[in-house]
Symmetry: C2
Subunit: 691 residues, 2 copies
Amino acid sequence: MDTFFYPRSIAVVGASKTNLGYSVLMNLVNGFQGGIYPVNRNHGEIEGVPCFSTLEAIPYPVDLAIIIVPAASIPAVLEACARKGIQSVIIESAGFAETGADGLALQDQCVAIAKGAGIRIWGPNCMGVVDILRKHFFTFMHPAIRAEGLLPGRISLIVQSGMMSAIFLVELAHRGIGVAKACSIGNRADVDECDVLEYLLADPDTEVIALYSESILRGRLFAQMAQSSTKPIVLLKGGSSEAGAQAAKSHTYSLSGNSRLLNSVLELSGVTVADEIYQMMDLANALATIPHIDPACRTAIVTLSGGAGVLACDALERHGIPVAQLSEQTKKTLSELFPVWMPVANPIDLFPTVGLHGRDVAFGRAISAVLEDSNVDVLLIHVVVGLGEDIEDLAALKKKADQLGKMVLFWLMGRQEAGERFRQRARTLGIPVHADISRAAECLRAVSKFMVHKTIATADGAASTPPSASVSKKPPLPSREKIWDEFDSKQFLASWAIPVVEERLVDSLDEAWRTAQAMGLPVVVKGLMPGEVHKTEHGLVQLGITDKFLLEAAFHHIQEKLDHRGKILIQKQVQSEYELIAGFIRDNQCGPCVMFGLGGILAELEPDVAFAMAPLYREGALKLIKRIRSRRLLQGFRGMPPLDGEAMADILVNLGTVGVAYQQIEQIDINPLAISTGAPVAVDATVMLKD
Amino acid sequence: MDTFFYPRSIAVVGASKTNLGYSVLMNLVNGFQGGIYPVNRNHGEIEGVPCFSTLEAIPYPVDLAIIIVPAASIPAVLEACARKGIQSVIIESAGFAETGADGLALQDQCVAIAKGAGIRIWGPNCMGVVDILRKHFFTFMHPAIRAEGLLPGRISLIVQSGMMSAIFLVELAHRGIGVAKACSIGNRADVDECDVLEYLLADPDTEVIALYSESILRGRLFAQMAQSSTKPIVLLKGGSSEAGAQAAKSHTYSLSGNSRLLNSVLELSGVTVADEIYQMMDLANALATIPHIDPACRTAIVTLSGGAGVLACDALERHGIPVAQLSEQTKKTLSELFPVWMPVANPIDLFPTVGLHGRDVAFGRAISAVLEDSNVDVLLIHVVVGLGEDIEDLAALKKKADQLGKMVLFWLMGRQEAGERFRQRARTLGIPVHADISRAAECLRAVSKFMVHKTIATADGAASTPPSASVSKKPPLPSREKIWDEFDSKQFLASWAIPVVEERLVDSLDEAWRTAQAMGLPVVVKGLMPGEVHKTEHGLVQLGITDKFLLEAAFHHIQEKLDHRGKILIQKQVQSEYELIAGFIRDNQCGPCVMFGLGGILAELEPDVAFAMAPLYREGALKLIKRIRSRRLLQGFRGMPPLDGEAMADILVNLGTVGVAYQQIEQIDINPLAISTGAPVAVDATVMLKD
């Protein structure tokens, strides 16, 4: 991979005096310090750079070839590359898989040639590689983009879509955010996001990786790399909506896959997931500038506008960032600044103190007190610049914050020019400045989450506890049906130490009544039909059987519905506080995964599920349990007993182990997993095998 | 009120050569065309404007006085105003209610003097009045703010907080959004947001009203005005979070009140509620430029970047805006532009057509086809400017869109200068331009909702159907207890035609068993204790009583818990698909209101309720039912019977009627309101009276 970024010499196949071939060459001439060898049989030179009629005519060694000739001629070019001994090729031309079956065949042909010759292909249909620090522009990117003032920085980009790559560079420049490398990977015929991620994780210039992608080819590997990464990764995933996924399909000819699962798995692996372009940029920038603060991110707000203080609280609370409770010491210091009638509280509205002490004294003393407060991790200062004196000594402020291990950031308003000056000073010092308080709160949230991830990623041994159920003692699967009925499914899960409801198949009404009495009333009567998973909708479930009369009615009703084709099940009716769901799924991007979520009809309306890759260790299972939106429900909400987290974690670990142990298993659904005085028990379940 | 905006002459009490008194005078001199009379006994003139030693020394009639002297001296100034016959006074000085009890007393004294003399007070503690169209700056606002290039426009502002008023003007100017009037109302000792709203609704210069407020003093009147308004109103409500409400309390010394209720009532009245400053500005701007389009807002997307198309779909779907299904005719036209391998779909990615037809032809023909498509209401064009030719003929595009009754807007990216030029051209033509696609989608959502509101606000008779239960036949209240038990509460509600569960009070176990048999098993046994609303937590509810043995156990258990102090209730156990809640509440801002929402434990975790003012008419009740997030649940979700909307509306109408009829009623809670085969029935209820 190194050759794609730091070649000693580059051949440009398709260099020309106009169009993209000209842009590629000029982008090299204006920055690249190594050998530049344009290949063009019609010109002796272009802008003073001598041309060669073929690759093989170049009398020097060539590390990298950039190809920008029509697609149809590229197989021949690759063969020439092989003869010349070139190991790395960036194909920037379009006309491959994205145009349909013929293009895909052409692309496959190129990959085959390259593979045979040990050549790695970057692209095709991409904008290539940019390294701002070294002024490497291995791309046909419009020269106007460089004129927008690209800033060197610590964020590297991986971008699937070519246009987006250019857009990101321009928009980051406008926001004053610096970039290390930008990698437009196009059709990913060979080099894909995992290759580039692996490279950037080891790249000393890169501190944060931001990614735009409509699908991730090797989601599992990607998540595994993220899991152990101490560099923040921010993902903007296109195609997360139904309409968007449809559009992504016709844009990149690759299925977006299960976005909910992928995002959930990646978030659990420490990836920050963004919804939109600027949000992604701001999150990446925030993650590039964070000091080592407490993940609690208890935030103090200093302002001269009471209204801004109110709105800041609203935004922080909306994003789950706690408004700090000031210590008694801080309150005492502040009360000496404030007029007597003014209560001391966070947000700290300094407006009434300015008249008493002057702006500098008021700000200086308040900020010092707050930074020294051990109840405060983050100091958010709201300023309106250009309408009087502004805070001048940002360097001292930043130094003090760093010394105390605190984060300081600004919510900036005011006059345009003064604002720009302020922003530039803050940028030089690495102080984040936000125009939008909601975005500031989102960034703090991302910082907080990443601080937690980093602690885990850094600690050894977190992933070393083996799953409780061992895979070595694996009996053969009890059924070869594609869809197992709930009895078979639960018997199987029970053999893997997953608690299931008490139930028994019965042949006669007499046996049914004896069973019901033995279990204790009320019971449920269910009819099991091969392949039928929608029992309730088909009248095959009778709840609340409390006496012999009701049992008889239910038994006959279901017997009639079954029409001699199925089995009758008597099941103890579980009184539950609420219902969860759990399961196993084999995903095309992430491989075997465990699912955990809220059950019941409302959860169908607004799904609340989280996923993690299997096999799952106890720590991972406990983390997964905490990922759902409704996690408060599990903690002993409204006087209910709390969920038995250990038992729940065991179930999730075992589901993962089972799924990994049996390659034939496609999916396992436990729905509902009833929670009865805090203990989980599988009431209904389905095991599905591959075709 | 007219005098506050268009006085013929103004006296400035406290005009001076420095500080705020100087700013007020200079803001008048630089714009106001009427008489300007500074009152200052120490100077003969200020900047050439002759001063008067007292108000009464002014030999001309004075319409408006602006007061900027220390608070303590203001009662005397108001008495002088009275003697001079001045009817309108803006007090910009601080030092009143916001400083505590003494300040509040001073403020009350001023109000009393003014009332006695028929003077209206604006403020105190405010930035006053600005009218950009007429260059009226009746304010001490920093002159630098005018230098930021304030644009005349059609949005008027009402701002409670003084600083926010200045911030809004500056930030709107930076975003190129024009303003008509800006009204900073401060402590609202007399003139409040309702007075100003009423005035602006009738103001021909104002087309949209944007409001920042931490509380609304007369919420009910405000909502009523909004209800019948055909001008959009956008509200940024500070203090919607717990921490924010706390901060608002110490900022404006007024309770934020029940933000959820207020926001809900206002949204139902057609108000657009914003969460943050820039969002409020963008929403107001979007609502100021909308043509009369179909509220469906079916949106077509035209772009040169497949990735942008994908992200646009994601954002639209996230905000509930449908991605349009193109007509066959449009598809045919587009397929003639596209290469054969390219499927025609929305988003319309024109990238592959540019090479075939040139950019102008591709864009021109695609845009025409889409605008003419009757399945399309909105055309969203994504452009990246400054990297080649840009769309030049915006005027023709806008004209065509207007002729066809369609809305066109841009998602703009690209180089900074080219972007600014594009934005200015679009602004002149009234075409919205967004940098952020999520915000664009939010704006479309607001436009869509407002179009629906406007249709209703414009139609007569919507509010003319009388509530079904008439208030004339009002019997006396059956109890004077502060908190009624559930039996009394439901008996009362049943007398108002609200369906309640079958239940009976019993004295003995024998009677309990006879009652249970008559009702049909299973039943519920409840113990009612005076004033006890947490029956379940206190073991006073026994569910699922299916036989005599269980009944006996439950009866004795509850009898013991009650210890001779309460009553025992036998209730039929209702099998329900799901649970709702409904109620009545008397709010301090909005008065009598009806509440509707989702029940059950999950709704306690993530509340999903909506409110409307009582009395409620059938149409209002039907609208209220549709306001909850989980409304899909009510429509016959997953094979369940749909909610009987008529029966539900009756309950809500009747709750409102009861609450309005009996002034003593403070609150009514029906929780749960069980939905059994689609029909609502009150299972538990509590009526609460005022102290």
